[in-house]
Structure formats: C-alpha cells, structure tokens
C-alpha cells in the first residue's frame, strides 16, 4: 500500500534551535532525543545577524555523543571563505563518521555586511548565485583527494599518491580557489547539502546542487507542485530527479494537547504565518498529516521546526514519531550509519576518479 505512487521511505528531520543557549548540554539533549526517535537529521540554524554560537561548532560538539543521526548546521556563504567552509563541513563529516550535512544560506542584510566591512549588502539573486558557486567548489574540493589518495602504509617514504590529488582551478563570479583541499575526501564523499528552496533565488541552487531541498508549503498541493518543479529543474541540470529529496518545512506547536485545539489546525492543515506554515495541534493529528501528505506523494518527508523545542520535540518523538513507527510508516532503528544511507542517497563517485568509479 505504501508504494502506490512509487514513493520512497518517509524522511523526518527536526530543528534543534535554542535561542540564547550557550552550553553544549541542552543541544546534546535535543539531538539525542531526535536520535532516539530515529530521525534522519537535525538542523541548527545560524546567521551572523543574531546572537548565539556558531552552528557548525555546536553540532561538532555533540557529534561524539551521538551515533547515527545526521547533523546539519547552517553555514552561510556570503561573508565566509569557501575554502574554510568546505574544510569545516568535511571535518564535521570526519568527526561524526559520515553524518554531516550543510544547510547553505546567504547573508542579505546591511547589518551583516557591516560586521565584515568588506562589501555592501547585495541583492538575493547575487548572493544566491555566489552560494551556488560555493556549493559547487565545495564538492570539487571534497573530490580533490580521491578516495585512495592516502597510502595506508608509506611506500618508499611517500605518504600520498599525488596522481590522485587534483587542483580544482575554480573561478567564480566573486572568488577563485585553486585547491586541492587540505584534508582527505570526507567519509560520505559529499556531505549532504541542504537548501531552503522556498524563495525564488534559492531554487536554482537547490535544483542544481542540493541533496535535500526544504519547501515551506502550507498545503499538500503546493508541496507537490514545489517538489515537481524542483525535480524538473534538477533534471534540467542533468541530475536524476530521485537524487533530490524535497521535504516540507513546518513550524510545529504541539502545546495544545493530544488533538487540534483550534478549528482549521491539526487535521485541517497548517496555517500560513510570516515565518512559514505553522501546524498547531496535537502529536496524533500531526502524524495523520505527515502520513497523509506522504501517502499522496506530495513530499519525501518533513523538516519540523518546534516553536518550543524542549516541549515540542519530546512530544514529536514520543507522540508523532512513535505513532508513525507503530503504523510501519517510519523506521524504528537506523539500518545505515551515514546520513546519506538514512536518506537513501548513494555515495557519489569522485569527479576526478578515472578508474574504478561506481557505475
């Protein structure tokens, strides 16, 4: 019954944003809770525009204490160094043994630009074009060491097979990078790239480079339309449409008990708000919504952003997810160990590998 539309497995992710939290403990608690529910990954948002710690730092901090869940920090591309960003994401992949993702974002405000004083704020089109270039060069740098570039034992005093190290020679609109990277290819080959594709300028980047696109859609019809559009665009870039997963991003407020407390919510579907569609209701009705949208082929899954993280994530895992698991609609354990495996995405062959690539 589940495969009526050739649909894949249901994928679930949750945000673990904790405004004001500076200690590792509360973040670790939420990530472990999400892992207990078998979620594909957690996201941690970031921006230079507001107070709080560096998201990639936080998720690196919680990596050793978790075993399976994917870790997806937001890392912005407008005022950062592409070379440094790819090295940091690759390092997160190394320290988490293949569970790293990277939510690509841009900085559009003059306030952020002033923190760096390097250039003025630029239009979204410009900074998203650059974000696409950063996503592109990052993958090239991840590939710049072939998988077997490092000898297991030094041979004749040589530690590296330098025929398997490559300059990337990338020149973009705002920067250039020669390469190769300074660290070996990450365990996943390419850590998972995630893009919120709701707004126009981000869509092309998502279609071309993302493994996972997020869309803030308030109805299954809109979600289905966004998914189809993104996958068509991905095909237009020469990608297999299945290599792009599209998840519906919903704000969730599970504070009102077991069932929808207000008409028009819960079973009635999310309500549009300034921050995006908001689901307010009970965990059981949320499970209905998730199962329904997924069964209709409107989405590959959901990215859930709890409005009160400690309360809502607990209800989400112990209520909504438990129910989906009970119905056989969501995994009860992790069969794989990397984020790509959770998502059913193949480990990409290196672009510079001329022999022995996977077919």
């Amino acid at each position: 019954m589940a495969a009526a539309h050739g649909r894949g497995l249901l994928h679930l992710a949750a945000a673990v944003d904790l405004p004001g939290a500076l200690d590792a403990g509360p973040y670790a608690e939420l990530v472990k809770l999400a892992e207990h529910g078998g979620l594909d990954f957690v996201t941690l948002d970031d921006s230079f525009a507001r107070p709080g710690p560096d998201a990639l730092g936080v998720l690196s901090r919680v990596a050793p204490g978790t075993r399976r869940i994917g870790l997806v920090p937001t890392v912005t591309t407008t005022h950062t160094e592409p070379f440094q960003v790819q090295a940091a994401v690759a390092t997160l992949d190394w320290v988490s043994r293949g569970r790293a993702g990277w939510r690509i974002e841009v900085s559009t405000t003059e306030g952020e630009a002033r923190l760096f004083g390097r250039r003025h704020a630029a239009p979204a089109e410009t900074v998203w074009q650059e974000a696409g270039e950063v996503a592109d060069v990052a993958a090239r740098l991840w590939d710049s060491w072939e998988d077997d570039a490092v000898y297991r034992e030094p041979a004749g005093g040589r530690y590296l097979d330098r025929d398997r190290l490559h300059h990337v020679g990338f020149t973009g609109s705002a920067f250039s990078v020669r390469g190769p990277s300074t660290l070996p290819r990450p365990p996943q080959g390419h850590p998972v790239r995630v893009v919120d594709a709701t707004d126009g300028p981000a869509r092309a980047v998502a279609a071309r480079y993302a493994d996972v696109a997020l869309v803030r859609a308030a109805s299954p019809d809109r979600a289905a339309a966004a998914r189809e559009q993104l996958r068509d665009a991905a095909a237009g870039f020469g990608r297999r449409p299945e290599s792009l997963l599209v998840l519906v991003s919903l704000l969730v407020d599970l504070g009102d008990g077991e069932h929808a407390a207000e008409p028009g919510h819960g079973g009635g579907g999310p309500r549009p708000t300034v921050q995006g569609p908001l689901y307010r209701g009970g965990p059981v009705d949320l499970a209905e919504l998730i199962a329904g949208w997924h069964a209709d082929g409107a989405t590959d899954g959901f990215h859930l952003v709890p409005v009160a993280p400690r309360r809502d994530l607990e209800r989400l895992v112990n209520g909504t997810v438990a129910l989906l698991q009970h119905r056989g609609l969501f995994r009860t354990f992790y069969p794989g160990s990397t984020l790509r495996e959770h998502l059913g995405l193949a480990r990409p062959a290196g672009r510079y590998t001329v022999t022995g690539g996977t077919s």
Binding site: L22, D23, A24, A28, F48, R50, P51, P53, D54, L56, G57, V58, S60, R61, V62, A63, P64, G65, H79, E81, P82, F83, Q84, A88, A90, T91, L92, W94, V95, S96, R97, G111, R114, L115, F116, G117, R118, W145, V150, Y151, R152, E153, P154, G156, G157, R158, Y159, L160, R162, L165, A174, F175, S176, V177, R178, G179, P180, T182, L183, P184
Partner: protein, 429 residues
C-alpha cells in the same frame, strides 16, 4: 630573573616540523575521530595544559607538485576541537588559524563558540608568515602577508571578545583601521575565562613585538640553552613597554623528544627514526630545497651535489657550506649528510635524563614549558605522559592535578587582567 617552578606542557598535532616520521595510524585513519580522541585523552591523562591543532591552508608543494614525503591532510581545527571538547573535561583546546585571510568577526565568533562550549578552554594560535600562495585558495588571492594587518586583526578580535559588558549585556562595537572597518554587535558574551587564550609564534622581530604586545603564550623554536635564555630575556623585557609583566606571558619552545630505557638506547632510537625518515626520495627533496634546483638525477648514496646552490642568500650559502664541511669531515654520502644534519630531535635520553633536561631549561629561565611535536603523536605522547610526567611531578616541576577548569587557570594567567588590560587599537587610516 623570574623563576617559575611549575612548567607547562602542550602537544601539537599534526606537528609542523619536518624532522620526524609519522607513527600514527595508517592513511586516512589519522583524521578519523578515534585517533584525535586518543591523542586528546592521552594529553589530558598527562595533565597537559593544551592540545594544539594546526590548520592547513594549502598543501605544501615542491617543484610544482604536491609534496608527498610528509603525511598531509589535517582537519579544520576549530570543528575538530569542538568535538574533542565532548570527550575531555580539562584539557585546553588550541586552534591554529592563519591571520592572512581571516576576518575578525568570523574568526572571533568561531573561537568564542569553542570557548563557550568548552567552558573556557579555548585558545587561538595566530598563525603568521605562511605560504603566500595559500591565497590562491582564498578570496583575497595570493598576496604577501602584511604584519600590520595581523596586529590589527588581533586587536579587532580582542575588541569583539571584550565587547559585551562583564555583566552580560551586549554593547555595540566599532573598529576602523587600515585593514578593517567593522561595526555592529558581537553575537557572544565574554569568555568564561575572561578572554580566549592568544598564542603566537615566530622568530621574526615583528612576531616578537606582537607577542610582547598581546600574546598569552609565545611559541618558539628549540635552540641551545644559551640561545633560548637570550630569547626568553629578550621577549620578556619587551613586555613592560606594553604595560605587561613576565607573569602575563608563557614562552614555550616546540620540541621533539625520543625516549629509551637508557640514554644509549634512546640515541639509537633517535638515529633509527632519522634513518627511516630520510629515504632516498627524501634526500633528493632535502637537497633540492636547499640547492633550489632539479636534482632528480642525483644519487642519494653519492657525495653532495657539486653544483652551487641557486639561492645566493647568506643563510642558504652558509648551510650548504656547513653540510659540505660535515660530509668532508666524516666522509658522508648525501643521504648520510642529511640524516646527520637535519631532523635532530630536541631531547633524547632516558625518562630521567629528559625530565632533568626539561626541568633545567625551565629553572634556568630558558622556557616556561614545552610543546611536544611530531614524533610524539599518539604512542610517543603516551610514553611521555606515562614515563616523563611522573618524574617531573616528583621534582615538583609539574602539576599533579588540574587545579582549575579553564585554560587560563592551567597557564596560571590572570582571568581579570585578560578582561581589563588595555589593548592597542588599529591605526586610523
């Protein structure tokens, strides 16, 4: 002369000096988390002040190709140290981040995050004087490094770290200088240790001046006791010009150690390590670097190249002359000369000998402590922690437990001074 009885110890990974081979796990496994975790746990077991992770900005190249005679590949240090913060509780966590391409806000935030998440155990090692071609990997492009930019970067980063009120209220910051013009509000409160520890290094006049002005820890090269004492006094005397005292700066040479049950055994091990490292390939590489020309046809087991070196600078010519004299005196082949002349380990001997030598350096005012490098990765570090540290403790030269929780407390640096010390602002253009 100031005599401190307690020495400070640190370890560096992967080690920037090219004197020794790599005993760690094979291949990529070096970068996998278990290898880093093991290293950090050993350092913490040895009650070390901190573990320093070096950054890579560009793979070293030789004659236009990636240099493959050293282990290469290193994690991005700040992300890796955040992970290590989860498996350690006291060890200081120091990240090398190059000053050449860094922007104050991004860098200050990344280090402050590590500091918050580790409850005050973070340090930034300000790397200067790197390969200018590393710029080919960065937005700024290849350009010579500007010492004044580094000084201004350090000042701006400190301004950001100190920008919130001690009571925890965000306050706006503004810095306008020749290299940076930034304003806004920093995203993180003050450090749990007052301010993250600043580590600097270098042998140049500019490096010493910057260290005297702003460093908490100054890393130097290993040298003879006389040279080390001279350098120690030289840097220490500069402190007063910046309103600082010797209590504000720890001077730590980077050293290599080879141990054996007896001194003779240690010497034999040290020689073995050098022989293993200086392969025929490595011999040619070392000669090509010094001679500055293609020597791919040169027989490493034959005599030193007859051709004159291409470099005409005094240092190169003097070194070539020294190698020639050494080879002539002892009748050595090229390879034997390289083995004999390069990669001398700093301290070689039984645990007793090494402990005594380290302690003497500190007592004589040549160092406040040491950063152990290269050969000591993993196994070597464990050997040091288990065999030398207890002897240092018996001598009363090293702590027997961590007395505080922050890196500043390990280094016996004042927390309060860190927050209130005046600092130089960048020059106004």
């Amino acid at each position: 002369m100031t005599v401190r009885r307690r020495m400070h110890l640190a370890a560096v990974f992967p080690g920037t000096d090219d004197t020794t081979g790599w005993p760690g796990p094979p291949g990529d496994a070096r970068l996998a988390f278990p290898a880093l975790e093991r290293l950090a746990r050993i350092a913490e077991r040895g009650l070390f002040d901190f573990l320093l992770l070096d950054e890579g900005q560009r793979l070293p190249e030789h004659r236009g190709r990636v240099h493959d005679l050293e282990p290469a590949g290193r994690p991005e240090p700040v992300a890796a140290l955040n992970a290590l913060a989860d498996v350690t509780t006291r060890l200081g966590l120091a990240a090398t981040v190059g000053a050449g391409f860094a922007e104050p806000y991004e860098l200050a935030r990344r280090i402050a995050t590590l500091d918050q998440l580790s409850a005050g155990r973070a340090a930034w090692r300000v790397a200067t004087g790197g390969d200018p071609r590393a710029g080919e990997n960065f937005r700024g492009g290849a350009r010579p490094e500007h010492p004044a930019r580094t000084a201004e970067l350090v000042a701006a980063v400190r301004l950001l770290w100190d920008s919130w009120s001690p009571e925890g209220t965000p306050r706006p910051f503004a810095h306008q200088g020749r290299h940076f013009d930034i304003a806004g509000e920093f995203g993180l409160p003050r450090s749990p240790q007052g301010r993250p520890v600043l580590i600097q290094a270098g042998e140049s006049e500019a490096a010493r001046e910057l260290a005297a002005a702003s460093a908490d820890v100054f890393l130097t090269r290993h040298g003879s006791p006389e040279a080390a004492r001279f350098r120690y006094r030289y840097v220490t005397q500069r402190l007063a010009a910046y309103g600082r005292t010797p209590a504000d700066l720890r001077i730590m040479p980077t050293v290599t150690v080879v141990l054996g049950d007896t001194d003779a055994e240690a010497q034999e091990r040290a020689a073995d390590i050098r022989r293993q490292r200086v392969t025929p390939h490595y011999t040619r590489y070392a000669l090509e670097r010094l001679w500055g020309r293609d020597l791919s046809g040169h027989d490493p087991d034959g005599p030193l190249p007859e051709a004159a070196p291409r470099g005409r600078d005094g240092e190169t010519l003097a070194l070539v002359e020294r190698w020639r004299a050494l080879a002539a005196e002892k009748g050595l082949s090229s390879r034997e000369t390289v083995i004999e002349a390069s990669g001398r380990q700093s301290f070689v001997g039984s645990p007793e000998t090494v402990a005594a030598a380290l302690h003497t350096r500190v007592r004589e005012g040549a160092a406040d402590g040491f950063v152990l490098a290269a050969r000591l990765t993993a196994d070597g570090l464990a050997e040091f922690a288990d065999r030398v540290v207890p002897l240092l403790q018996e001598r009363g030269a090293f702590r027997t437990e961590y007395e505080g929780t922050t890196l500043r407390s390990h280094l016996a640096l004042s927390h309060r001074a860190a927050g209130s010390r005046p600092h130089r602002r960048g020059n106004t253009a």
